[in-house]
Amino acid sequence: MEGLLSTIQQALQLLLYGDAELWAIVLLSFSVSIKAISLTTPLALLLAFSLAYGNYPGVRIILAFFNSLLSVPTVVVGLFLYVLLTRQGPFGDLRLLFTQSAMVIGQMILCFPILVALGYAAIQAADVRVWETARTLGAPRWYIILTIFYEVRYGLLAAVLTGFGRVISEVGISMMVGGNIMGYTRNITTAIALETSKGEFAQGIALGFVLLSLAFLLTALLSYIQSKNGGNT
């Protein structure tokens, strides 16, 4: 128990007095993951929408496919991307390996199926009258989509938060295509993995605690904004 207490103390110290190096790592984590999720969300939700309203055959099988992609380990995504980006690989000339851009791309691949699957679940739950009413009142297609998204905003927010949680907490991709290079591509999770492999468990938990606290702030802020915007959910 003593170990736990001193760990929490260490975490608080890290949070309060964290040096520039720590904050650089934290910043990198959030900037990569926020980029990944913001770039993925629009496309994934549009796909989810078209699966829900497109009425074409094979929707079930496509959904099952995306659902099973949820089970792909991050290190496999990392490996896959590595094979593509490696110097002799098809995209080797882009020299993206071991850069933040590669991490962003990997995390986008990771959260895409989550956003599609959960976005679909949220959108299909919308009353069909949302679509019908918007349509009959003359809304153009893009506005109909926005209207439906607004009606199921809580479900979509949950999808986005889940996707964000997935990417900010992943380590396989960052390790594999980021490379955990100090000062360049080291983020919180690869730093935690490193501390762990050193046997510095307290340091690892403390870093996790830093991540958790910041994620909590972000989430609480989002939920506060949402409640301000007159949602009754």
Binding site: F98, M175, M182, A193, L194, G199
Partner: protein, 247 residues
Amino acid sequence: GEPIKLATTTSTENSGLLKVIIPYFEKRTGNVVHVLAVGTGQALRMGQDGNVDVVLVHAPKEEMRFVDAGYGLNRRSIMFNDFVIVGPDNDPAKIQGQHDVLESLHNIAHGKYLFVSRGDDSGTHKKEVHLWKKAKLKPDLSWYREVGQGMGRVLQMANELNAYTITDRGTWLVMRSKLSLKLYVEGDSLLFNPYSVIAVNPERYPTINYLGAMSLIAWLTSVEGQNLIKNFRMKGQPLFFPTAINN
């Protein structure tokens, strides 16, 4: 009886040595061994916490500290291999054939050629840090990449980045065919890499499998164990050299 929990570094596990020799031990003694392959620091930490019965690592200073602090007993050196310096096939630092490892490090640092470091406090990393210190060099981030990953991954990254790095010979032999890197520096006595096995102190943790741990240590240092280590081949090459018995 209860399985013997052995914490070891990824490099020993990845070389395939344990997979080959442990079954002989299990057959002879009827004991079962659970191998936990983790980082050096983590392996020692698991021993310190009493969650494993015996550790097999290569970080002499840490091992001494571990024993001195009373976490471990009966440290026995069982084998060694060596470190080598590898680098891109055009060898921009011109270190090929050098026998003085410190000099080659000077070449790399002065030319600011990329160098990938494990950066994970592992045995290999400690050795590397020690060498830089000895060479009175201070690496900086413009050419020195501290990546905090396992040996195999570091080799891959060095390959990808056209960089130099230091590696244990075992991992190098395993990975060599997949890399365009070349081996440049070997044989300097500074590159010696000894492995030891340590039993976790039963005084601290009376319920751990001390007997099992000791029987494993005994067997590893026995003629049979040592011979198996000596005869282990990786891609046709000997990898580890037994040190417990001179023969």
